[in-house]
Subunit: 214 residues, 2 copies
C-alpha cells in the first residue's frame, strides 16, 4: 500500500492528498507532527533527508519528495483524470499558477519560517502577522490578475476541471483564512476555491478531515 | 524571435538561460532592472502581472512565467537534449531536487524578501546574512545528503548529463558564493557545480556574461 507521510496542516501534504483523491488512489496516512518536530527525528530523516513532509512511499518502496514533483509523478503514472491540460502552452500556464503559490507565497509563510522570525529575529506577533499577510497579498494580487485576465480561466484555475493549480490554491486559501487575511479583493480566487471545496476529493483532503486533526 | 525578460542576477532567469542554451534555442534578452524596480512598472506588469522575472515571450506571442514552468515547457516543445530522465521515478527525483532549491531555499533569499527584512522588520546586516546562510545551510545539507545517498546521482545531480536539477543548483551556488557561505561541507554540490560550469551552456548563462552585468 502507498504511504503518505504528512501532517494535517501542511499545505504541501494537503496538495498531494487532493491529487491522490482526484485520481482515486488509496493510501495509508503516516502522521508526522511538525509542531513536535517529528520531521527532524533520525528515523524520519533516514526516509527523507530533507526533514520535510510530504513523503510518498510507493508499493514498490520508492520514496518521492516535494509535493509538486510527487503530483507530476502521479500524473505520469496515473494520467486519468488529468491534472494538467493537453497543450504545452496550457500546461505551462497551469504550472506557472501552481509555482506562483508553491514558490512565491507558501515558502515564506510555512511553520519553519514563522518560527525563525519569532525565535531568531525576535519578531512580535503583530509583525509576524503583517509578514504573513504581505506575502499572501502580493501573491494573491498576482494570482487574481492572472485568473481574471488570462483566457484559460474557467470554473477552476484552468478550464472547468481541477488541475495542479487548484490543488496548490486551495491549501493556500486555507492558510490565508487561518491567518484571517481579508480575501474580499479576490472574487475569482474565492469562487474557484468554493468550486473546489464542493468536490469530495478536496473535502476528504482538508486538514480538518485528517486523523491527526485536533 | 523569442524574448527572455530577465535580470543578470535573478536566479530564476539564470535557470531559464541555462535551459535555452542547453537546448540550443536563440533568444533576445530584455533587461529588467530589479534593483531599480522596473519589474513593478505598469508596462512590465501588463506583460506579467506577477511583476517578476523571468518572462518568456515566444515567437507566436505566448507569454510564459515562473522559471520551472518555462523549463518544463521548453522540455515538452524541444525534447532534445532532455532535461528530464525517462522513467517517472527518475523524473520525480530530478523534479524533487529542483523544487528543493526552488521552493525551500531560493524564495527565502531573493531580493524582495531581503528588502522586507531590512525595511519592514529593521533587521541589521549581521542578522540578514545569518538568515541568508541559515536557509542555504538547511537546504544544502538536505541536497548534499540526497546527492550522496541516492542511487541516481552521477557527475551531475542525476546521471552524467545536466538536468532541471542542475539548472536550479548552479544559480543557487552562485548566490551562496555571493553571500560568502561556507560550502566546504558540500563536496558533491561543489563537484557537480564545477562539472556544470565547464559547459558553455552554463558559462554563457552566468550572471557575469549578461549584457546588464556591471
Amino acid at each position: 500500500m502507498t504511504t503518505l507521510y504528512g501532517y494535517f496542516r501542511s499545505s504541501a501534504a494537503y496538495r498531494v492528498r487532493i491529487a491522490l483523491n482526484l485520481k482515486g488512489l488509496a493510501y495509508e496516512p503516516a502522521l508526522i507532527n511538525l509542531v513536535k518536530g517529528e520531521q527532524r527525528s533520525d528515523d524520519y530523516r533516514a526516509r527523507n533527508p530533507q526533514g520535510l513532509v510530504p513523503l510518498l512511499e510507493t508499493d514498490d518502496g520508492i520514496r518521492l519528495t516535494q509535493s509538486l514533483a510527487i503530483c507530476e509523478y502521479l500524473e505520469e503514472r496515473y494520467p486519468t483524470p488529468a491534472l494538467l491540460p493537453h497543450t504545452p502552452e496550457e500546461r505551462a500556464r497551469v504550472r506557472a499558477l501552481a509555482q506562483l503559490v508553491a514558490s512565491e507565497i507558501h515558502p515564506l509563510n510555512n511553520l519553519k519560517v514563522l518560527k525563525y522570525l519569532v525565535h531568531e529575529l525576535k519578531v512580535g506577533d503583530e509583525a509576524k502577522t503583517a509578514w504573513y499577510r504581505h506575502w499572501i497579498t502580493e501573491g494573491f494580487d498576482a494570482l487574481e490578475a492572472m485568473l481574471t485576465l488570462e483566457a484559460g480561466s474557467g470554473e477552476f484555475c484552468h478550464g472547468d476541471a481541477p488541475t495542479l493549480a487548484d490543488l496548490c490554491l486551495v491549501p493556500q486559501v486555507y492558510n490565508a483564512e487561518r491567518f484571517e487575511c481579508d480575501l474580499s479583493a479576490y472574487p475569482r480566487i474565492q469562487r474557484i476555491t468554493a468550486n473546489c471545496r464542493a468536490l469530495p476529493a478536496f473535502q476528504q483532503a482538508a486538514p480538518e478531515a485528517q486523523p491527526d486533526a485536533p
